[in-house]
């Protein structure tokens, strides 16, 4: 091959093919649902062991998919007062609370200009199915500020189709910055206590500086508040993966 100069080019070997081993990537990524990790306290670990056995038992019969705060879910529950005995609700998960069998998650949606939030228990036997329509993470772990945001950020189509995604890829993080309704808000979300990164604050600089007065920079260095869960998580992951 002759280059534009007219002189013969040095032979460039073709680039090596990069092999992505999809099975290995899938194994590397492991997700342990946050309600399995026991809270810090003085209770007997036997109690958590028995709770976990029950949780694994329920998961064998009923599939609870992996989801994070900010993903869009559709839940069908058995309802004795509904016409078809089932009721389906679609919404974005704003918060996941509780540990063990009492773990809950709150779904929010705006239906006909009315904001609706429903708190479901993960292990409630009345739940027939949980489908993940869109799996994604957001910048915060608690999206309660959506109540003070413009309603367009909480509206989701009830007949939305599930978004397909590959199994081995990382969960996408939606770096959406949400615009808020004018103040007053339910909570002062600009304060550093809430540590919210997903709001586009349109407040003047003076207000933001005043809010920083309530910051507690010593909190992150407080050693008594540290709760190292890595070893616990490893043990619990082994238990759970053996059970399922």
């Amino acid at each position: 091959r002759v280059s534009s100069d007219g002189k013969p080019e040095k032979f460039q070997p073709p680039p090596k093919p990069v092999i992505i081993d999809k099975l290995k990537l899938r194994e590397k990524r492991r997700f342990l649902s946050p309600e399995f990790i026991p809270p810090r306290g003085r209770t007997d670990p036997l109690k958590y062991y028995i709770e976990r056995k029950d949780m694994i038992q329920r998961r064998k019969v009923f599939n609870i998919p992996e989801f994070y705060v900010g993903s869009i879910l559709a839940v069908t529950t058995a309802d004795p007062h509904a016409s078809e005995k089932t009721s389906r609700f679609v919404g974005i998960c704003i918060q996941r609370g509780g540990k063990g069998l009492g773990a809950t998650f709150v779904l929010r949606n705006v239906i006909e200009d009315q904001g609706v939030e429903i708190c479901y228990e993960l292990y409630n036997p009345r739940i027939q199915a949980i489908e993940v329509l869109k799996l994604e993470k957001r910048l915060d772990e608690n999206l309660m500020y959506l109540r003070d945001a413009l309603p367009e950020y909480s509206t989701f189509d009830v007949n939305m189709k599930p978004v397909s995604r590959l199994d081995h890829e990382e969960v996408p993080v939606n770096k959406l910055q949400v615009r808020m309704k004018p103040k007053p808000w339910l909570k002062r979300w600009e304060r550093p206590k809430y540590n919210i990164k997903g709001i586009k604050f349109e407040l003047p600089e003076s207000k933001m500086r005043e809010a920083q007065k309530w910051s507690q920079p010593w909190l992150e260095f407080d050693m008594m508040r540290e709760y190292d869960t890595s070893k616990l998580e490893d043990k619990i992951w082994k238990e759970v993966s053996e059970g399922l």
């Binding site: 109690k47 028995i50 709770e51 019969v61 005995k85 069998l101 228990e121 409630n124 036997p125 009345r126």
Partner: protein, 231 residues
């Protein structure tokens, strides 16, 4: 405290009680004790042998059993067994709150926070009338709250785990986590007849029949079943 669901879809809260090394220490028959029923001296949880007096140690030596931390008497009839669906009374020492004022201890309303109140917001106010000219015995006043024995009656037993000896009891129970608790058949008049005739005789450890790992009440939803539907 854990949630438990029934087959109809209702949710109840449940406390877990662990039976830890309970042994019968001494059996006092009806004639000896002088009461109406025979008495059984039962010991609970294992404890260290160094902190108790010699006389107490003798009781344990006679029974041939390791030293117990808590000893209490039970009035026992001929048949006694705990099974799911039974009703039970649970006694324990409540959480000690220390010296508490009258508003927390007895639920007094106190005084308003503003409108001219001088240094009077959580005080009892008047303690007696003019004519009485004395304060009656038992007047509710500030003092040490908690750390006394209290019972919660009529708790239903939902589930028993025979492998780890755990009883799932409906609702809440007095006391902090991991405290010693005394469980007894209910003495409420509505449940008087429930405990008279158990279906099968008391289970002996050296018997041939083996109990399944989990015993459930009929209404309890077991996690091996599919989800609840109202068809």
């Amino acid at each position: 405290m854990m949630p438990i669901w029934t087959k109809s879809g209702k949710r109840h809260s449940v406390t877990l009680l662990k039976v830890q090394d309970c042994h019968v220490l001494r059996y006092v028959s009806k004639e000896e004790s002088g009461g109406k029923t025979s008495k059984l001296l039962v010991g609970g949880k294992n404890g260290s042998p160094f902190f108790r007096s010699e006389s107490a140690m003798e009781i344990f030596k006679e029974a041939g059993v390791p030293r117990k931390q808590k000893v209490s008497t039970f009035n026992v009839t001929d048949d006694a067994i705990i099974k799911p669906g039974q009703f039970v009374d649970v006694t324990a020492k409540t959480i000690g709150k220390g010296f508490q004022g009258v508003m927390k201890r007895w639920g007094f309303k106190g005084q308003p926070a503003s409108h001219g109140q001088t240094k009077t917001h959580r005080r009892p106010g008047a303690i007696s009338t003019n004519k009485a000219a004395k304060v009656y015995r038992g007047k509710k006043m500030p003092g040490k709250m908690g750390n006394i024995y209290r019972t919660s009656y009529g708790l239903k037993v939902w589930r028993i785990n025979t492998k780890h000896d755990i009883i799932y009891v409906n609702g809440s129970v007095p006391g902090h986590t991991n405290c010693l608790v005394k469980v007894r058949d209910s003495k409420l008049p509505t449940y008087k007849d429930c405990n008279k005739n158990p279906p099968f005789p008391t289970f002996f450890a050296d018997g041939d029949e083996k109990l399944p790992e989990d015993l459930y009440d009929e209404e309890v939803f077991q996690f091996t079943d599919p989800s609840v539907t109202y068809a």
